[in-house]
């Protein structure tokens, strides 16, 4: 699996993480998935972090915001193909909580490490569900 994203969109999601530092940022990736399972991002939508009680180490996207995003994406013939968030002062690796709270199999979960306010590494993980179990698999990001 691979995630293709235009450079301005890639920079946008990384910049979002710098702007919200030391808090986590979050947002949605809209686009299309082809028959081979290759995802192409067409738009990046910023979301607010609903976890205002612990925004430095938790994020929740308001489902109501997601409903609106899903509806508008449908009107544009786009799909929700992934999500992004930042890890302030942590590596760009998924955490146990990230996996536990991930409920969109087939979608990409993009994580940017933000160290001292500067976006460093960005990685993508494909959520794979097999029966009752699920896992994150490393996914290559192609910035175009």
């Amino acid at each position: 699996m691979a995630l293709h994203i235009a450079k301005p969109d890639f920079e946008e999601l990384r910049q979002h993480g710098e702007e919200t530092y030391p808090h986590e940022c979050c947002g949605v990736l809209l686009g299309q998935v082809d028959e081979a399972g290759v995802k192409r991002v067409r738009d990046v939508v910023r979301c607010g972090n609903q976890r205002t009680d612990s925004p430095h180490n938790r994020y929740v996207i308001d489902p109501r915001e997601l409903v609106g995003i899903q509806r508008r994406a449908h009107e544009r013939e786009l799909d929700i193909i992934g999500f992004y968030h930042s890890h302030p002062q942590h590596p760009a690796r998924w955490s146990a909580t990230d996996l536990e709270e991930a409920h969109w199999p087939g979608c990409s979960y993009v994580i940017t490490s933000v160290m001292n306010g500067v976006a460093t590494q960005t990685n993508s993980f494909d959520l794979v569900a097999e029966g009752e179990s699920k896992s994150f698999q490393d996914e290559q990001i192609h910035v175009e």
């Binding site: 979050c26 489902p63 997601l66 942590h90 709270e101």
Partner: protein
């Protein structure tokens, strides 16, 4: 009414992103949907028949938890959205540089 199917559940609806249904309540919507697409049942409901905690159901812009849950009435012009939750977090230890 129209039911919007989120991307991960489309593998159970023959890849359809929307399903048109006739129903008078959210309960009927979900029942009709899972009758047409039986594999959806396990994705939406627990073994006890409760809607899974991470599955949000909205009638237009309203969460059914703040309406009358599955008893919420729906009109033919309504749009029903099924939306799994999106969240995550970090361990409490921070890397200091």
């Amino acid at each position: 009414m129209k039911v919007l199917i989120p991307t991960p559940l489309r593998q159970y609806t023959g890849k359809q992103s929307t399903v048109e249904l006739d129903a008078g309540s959210v309960d009927e919507v979900l029942r009709e949907l899972t009758t047409q697409y039986p594999e959806l049942r396990k994705q939406l409901f627990t073994a006890e028949g409760e809607l899974r905690k991470f599955v949000n159901v909205y009638v237009n812009d309203e969460d059914i938890r703040y309406l009358e849950r599955e008893r919420t009435t729906v009109k033919p012009t309504d749009t029903i959205s099924i939306i799994p939750s999106v969240a995550g977090g970090l361990p409490s230890r921070r890397l200091e540089f």
